[in-house]
């Protein structure tokens, strides 16, 4: 894996089906994510520190601002069909929340309904996975997480980066380790940023297309991952 062994990304998975929760948890852990699973949208919002009636109150959301939580959530993956609050309802609440809207959200569903998929993507979902979810789907999550992280880093570290460039070329000189790691990541990924964005657009479109085809489109016969997918 890369340099970020001390920073595991944390995914919150939401599904009312026990079996599907176990499955998505295993898929995510196998891909080296830290995982929290909950069985409802309501519990998801509680975990995220957002209470339904407090949503419009900025003071409450700032009590649990994401980047100061001990456990930060880097991505939310949720089932669409759930009793009470659907995955779509949850998605909307997240996107309406000033503290949560930047967290990428992915929707899962066992049904291939184009209008449903479109609605979710338009509401801001990054991807729409058809169930049963596979390792190849989970492998698509990273870019969405990195895109958000990169955006945060660009905002926070731009000034610092300019300062640092006036210093010595020696990377080790007096910089906190974390900062130089972030910077290193930043340099690596700035090149990818453009590509990722384009790729993302293509991805959303092609994902839409794939999902709209019959269940057994070529995408369904996926290459097998014979244990090499993740190496920790």
């Amino acid at each position: 894996m890369g340099m970020a062994t001390e920073t595991q990304f944390h995914v919150l998975a939401v599904d009312d089906s026990l079996i599907d929760r176990k499955l998505i948890e295993k898929l995510l852990k196998t891909s080296s994510y830290q995982v929290t699973t909950v069985d409802s949208g309501t519990k998801a919002l509680e975990f995220l520190g957002l209470h339904e009636d407090d949503q419009s109150n900025p003071n409450t959301s700032s009590v649990f601002p994401n980047n100061h939580q001990e456990v930060e959530v880097n991505l939310i993956i949720t089932d669409y069909c759930m009793p009470g609050m659907t995955g779509y309802d949850l998605l909307r609440k997240i996107k309406e929340s000033s503290s949560l809207r930047n967290i990428p959200v992915v929707i899962m569903s066992s049904e291939n309904v184009p209008s449903r998929i479109n609605r979710c993507l338009e509401e801001g979902a990054e991807e729409f996975f058809l169930k049963p979810v596979r390792l190849s789907d989970v492998n698509r999550l990273k870019p969405h997480i990195m895109k958000t992280k990169l955006k945060d880093h660009v905002i926070i570290s731009t000034d610092q980066k300019q300062e640092n460039e006036e210093e010595d070329d020696d990377d080790e000189s007096g910089k906190p380790v974390l900062q130089s790691q972030e910077e290193h990541q930043q340099r690596q990924q700035q090149q990818h940023q453009q590509q990722q964005q384009q790729h993302h657009h293509q991805h959303s479109n092609s994902n839409k297309r794939k999902a709209m085809e019959e269940g057994l489109s070529p995408d369904r016969t996926r290459p097998r991952y014979n244990g090499v997918t993740t190496v920790v």
């Binding site: 079996i19 499955l23 295993k26 066992s110 049963p132 390792l135």
Partner: protein, 150 residues
């Protein structure tokens, strides 16, 4: 690891797939099995059967307690179908699809008929999987060893 027993396990798996009892999703589950969860597949299947017993009871109750609540039946069966799909139980899943068609059409007789087939496939698969996991244990395949080979 006993090579003959391993072969028996693999042959049975091949056969279950060829006959349409199981599909690619079951293979995916096996590929997820590792040192951290050495019994992942069997655990998932056990969970499925524990869960589905309740769902099937609910469906049966809803079918015999008239008048039939088709939306509720639809809901139960969708849940059941979803779980079947998640463990790769193809035949069970397909019977669920047929049931759902009758449900949507409000065809009570069709629902009853297809429900019996769902129950039947569900039971048949359980027996076959019990045998399969027994073979896997005998082959020493509870860790990834045997499961990964095709």
């Amino acid at each position: 690891m006993d090579k003959n027993r391993l072969q028996r396990q693999l042959d049975m798996k091949r056969s279950l797939i060829d006959q349409g009892y199981l599909d690619e999703q079951f293979i995916q589950l096996e590929e997820l099995q590792d040192e951290d969860s050495p019994n992942f597949v069997e655990d998932m299947v056990t969970m499925f059967y524990n869960n589905s017993a309740r769902l099937l009871e609910n469906i049966e109750q809803a079918l015999v307690t008239g008048p039939i609540d088709f939306p509720k039946l639809d809901d139960y069966m969708h849940q059941f179908k979803g779980s079947s799909s998640s463990i790769g139980a193809t035949r069970v899943k397909n019977e669920c699809t047929r049931f759902l068609e009758h449900c949507t059409a409000g065809n009570a007789e069709g629902c009853v008929r297809t429900f019996l087939r769902v129950k039947q496939e569900h039971a048949i698969l359980r027996t076959k999987l019990e045998t399969y996991f027994q073979l896997a244990r005998q082959a020493g395949s509870s860790a990834s060893g045997g499961a990964k080979a095709r």
